[in-house]
């Protein structure tokens, strides 16, 4: 028997044709009959979803029941609901497994949600998405070049500053206490200067606190006359200093001097750096290849260390779950020839998120952190006055 209205018995044509079943559903006639979501059907769908309390509350089963459309299967509803849910969130951030996919997805969602699922032909939508995608890739490329340009420029500043500093050192002689080390640092910087992109302070990560202490011991005595800032930083309380109190909180000065030295003389590979030397060189090489992403590289290096203090912040991040897998893939699109620095392991599942909001498995106590209270007070004051 030939029932022209039963889609399953229709022969496949070259062009997908749509037939109307007796339930009112429109199905295509290609080998795999696919449901066509017409405007009316979609409206009924949206109604049902709203009745059920929104796309997050509604389930395919309940929707099916509410809609009461014959021939509509759970499968249809599942996929349509998912698309609908995604379409409802056009503000989702860039999730960067590959920026291409993510942005294509996002663009599709946003164009879909803004234009309605069936309001345009697939072609139009696709063109729109393509166009935006191209634009995005352009922006990405330009961003990288611009960051590089800034880095190069920053380089010239640092080199100039270094030379000035070297000149000062020679002239003033106040580095006598440090003596060779200071000069050595400067010349070491010059050697490495051109190789580094964001020179300087990324090397801080190599100078753990032990390193700084080591330097401080040597430099403490010669610093007092050098730094113009006075030791008023203590604000009255004398903290026990491991370097003995000279009454002026030398710890702070030493740190600062060290830092600015680092700023102007980045690798400062003196003899005491031996334990770090291997890592350092590799890092330099990595930095010189991978120009655009040094910030990334550095942050990730930090996050390979377990960081407890970050959890103390106590901020719970609601959109955490989606972002657990970020570190390496995120940077991939910006630099295809990236060489990962040695210490950067992507084994950390939490990636960037680790200090902020990922809960550890230990037993918890419930506390309102000071940040939340601060914000509440702020609202209180703004509301009252």
């Amino acid at each position: 028997m030939f029932h022209p209205k039963k889609p399953s018995t229709m022969n496949s044509h070259d062009r997908p044709m749509c037939v109307q079943g007796d339930s009112g559903l429109v199905l295509t006639t290609d080998p795999k009959p696919r449901l066509r979501w017409t405007v009316e059907l979609h409206e009924r769908f949206v109604d049902a979803v709203t009745q059920l309390g929104g796309p997050d509350k509604a389930t395919p089963k309940t929707i099916m029941r509410v809609m009461g459309v014959k021939g509509l299967t759970l499968y249809h509803l599942k996929s349509h609901l998912q698309k609908f849910r995604l379409g409802k969130q056009p503000h989702k951030e860039f999730s960067d497994h590959s920026i291409k996919d993510a942005s294509a997805l996002e663009l599709q969602r946003s164009t879909a949600s803004s234009s309605g699922m069936t309001g345009r032909t697939m072609n139009e939508m696709q063109m729109e998405v393509q166009r935006r995608l191209h634009e995005q890739l352009e922006v990405q490329r330009h961003l990288q070049l611009r960051i590089e340009a800034q880095g190069k420029y920053m380089q010239t500043i640092l080199e100039k500053a270094c030379q000035t500093l070297a000149g000062e050192n020679m002239a003033s002689g106040s580095y006598k206490g440090i003596g060779n080390q200071g000069v050595h640092d400067i010349s070491a910087m010059k050697d490495f200067g051109p190789a580094l992109n964001f020179p300087s302070l990324q090397d801080l990560n190599l100078y753990g606190s032990e390193q700084l202490e080591l330097q401080q011991n040597m430099e403490r005595s010669s610093l007092d006359g050098l730094m113009p800032t006075n030791g008023n930083m203590c604000l009255g309380k004398k903290r026990p200093s491991p370097y003995g109190g000279s009454g002026k909180s030398p710890v702070i000065w030493s740190d600062d001097l060290r830092l600015h030295e680092l700023g102007t003389a980045p690798p400062c590979l003196g003899p005491q750096d031996d334990p770090f030397k291997g890592d350092h060189e590799i890092q330099i090489a990595a930095l010189s290849i991978d120009r655009g992403n040094d910030i990334d590289c550095v942050s990730d290096m930090y996050e390979t260390k377990p960081i407890l203090t970050g959890d103390a912040m106590g901020e719970k991040r609601f959109d955490n779950s989606a972002k657990l897998e970020r570190p390496s893939p995120r940077r991939a699109p910006l630099s295809t020839d990236r060489m990962n620095p040695v210490t950067n392991t992507s084994a950390m599942p939490q990636g960037r998120n680790s200090p902020f909001g990922i809960r550890s498995e230990r037993p918890v106590t419930i506390v309102f952190g000071w940040r939340r209270c601060l914000r509440n007070y702020l609202y209180w004051f703004q509301g009252k006055f």
Binding site: Q150, I157, L212, L308, E315, R362, T365, W370, Y377
Partner: protein
Amino acid sequence: MAMVVNGIIADLNLSCYAATTTTTTTFFTTTTNTPTISIDGDRGCNWNDWSPVVDWHAISGGHDDDFQNLVESMMDDNTGLHHPYRFNREGYNSVLSPEPMIVDDKRNDTEDCKGLRLVHLLMAAAEALTGVNKSRDLARVILFRLKELVSPSPNDGTNMERLAAYFTEALQGLLEGASNGVHGKHMFSSGPHHRDDHHQTDILAAFQLLQDMAPYVKFGHFTANQAILEAVAHDRRVHIVDYDIMEGIQWASLMQALVSRKDGALAPHLRITAISRGGPNRRSIGSVQETGRRLVAFAASIGQSFSFHQCKLNFDETFRPSTVKLIKGEALVINCMLNLPHFNYRAPDSVASFLSGSKTLNPRLVTLVEEEMGPMGDGGFMSRFMNYLHHYSAVYDSLQAGFPMQNHACALVERVFLGPRISRSLAQIYRGRGGDNEGCSWGQLLGATGFHQVNISFANHCQAKLLLGLFNDGYRVEELANNKLVLGWKSRRLLSASIWTLPEPDI
């Protein structure tokens, strides 16, 4: 405030005062023996002068219970655990949530409790300085207590402690300034934070750190540059007047972008006029001329035709439009960066004169980057104080997110850039002038002067998002009001970049 004082006295081991913890509105039990006490750093505060009664009702504005609970919580070491304020909102996130925060181990408990105590003490001090029941003596005591608890040193401070150190210092300055009747511009000329005391290399190092650890600098620069590029796409000559050029790093990337424009058009001739200050005590890293030389060299290296000019402000640092040399046929852009590493918050009059004066130059585009403080309103000192506290705590957090283990790096940036800014902001709101031009932002000033908004393009927004992707997750960017991109840290808005233009003149 009775509870606070009693508590402090207990800490100072004054045996003649009983430390009571019951809620009471009396300051002291009246006693006939009032010994003279010398306390370090107290500067001769005479306990006898304390008022015996606190008007609780007046302080709390009618919400006695709330305030008493608040003050009690300052005293209690287990403050954080049983806090009476059970709001259902996150410290930063604006998303409503019924869940309280969860912290991991005991150490973090203490840290949060301590942080909270510092917040309370700061609030109390601010209140004592400016509230209904002003008491400078009370403020002095509270600040003294605070100083014991905080330190700007990176070795032993958490974020909150370092932040509180600078706020304490700022409040101390207000206290002293008020007593001396000093209202000059350089309030902290003797303090360690006066900008000119900073060694040049300190500033350079701090600037580099700031660039690396947080997107503030790049966000402002790139957003402005992108808007400029779009606006001058078809021009042969471009002239930019930059209010605070510093080392000129913004223009390095603009030049690069001009040189590599896709449509193969020859790069326009770029002319930059840098505003320089006339006074003797200016400069960040080398002089404006130095910056100019550097820019010229850089432009030469990439093949961008470029010329550099300087233009001095008046002696009182106001801007005279006539000092800018204009050439016919050039596209004029006004660039005004007021955000974090810039020190120009010291001169709001100057900024105001620059922004309003630039209208007479008839620019094609005005790019403005400023700190986003949120609606200031007429909240009075306390609400603005809280606003600043919240704002800067977000900044501190974001900086630390950039260099999680390197407290020294953060501390340097804080010392060089943030500390002075905090002091200055508090001084401004204390003296009754809004941190940004009496309660409205610079953007609002531009709007009022007659500038129109320019929409942020898709490319610009996209670039901002990509840029933030290079930094910590906590940053986010949103588009406000058509012409503004706002950079925020975890629901606190921090920085805004806005684009303006003049309407086409009627023919």
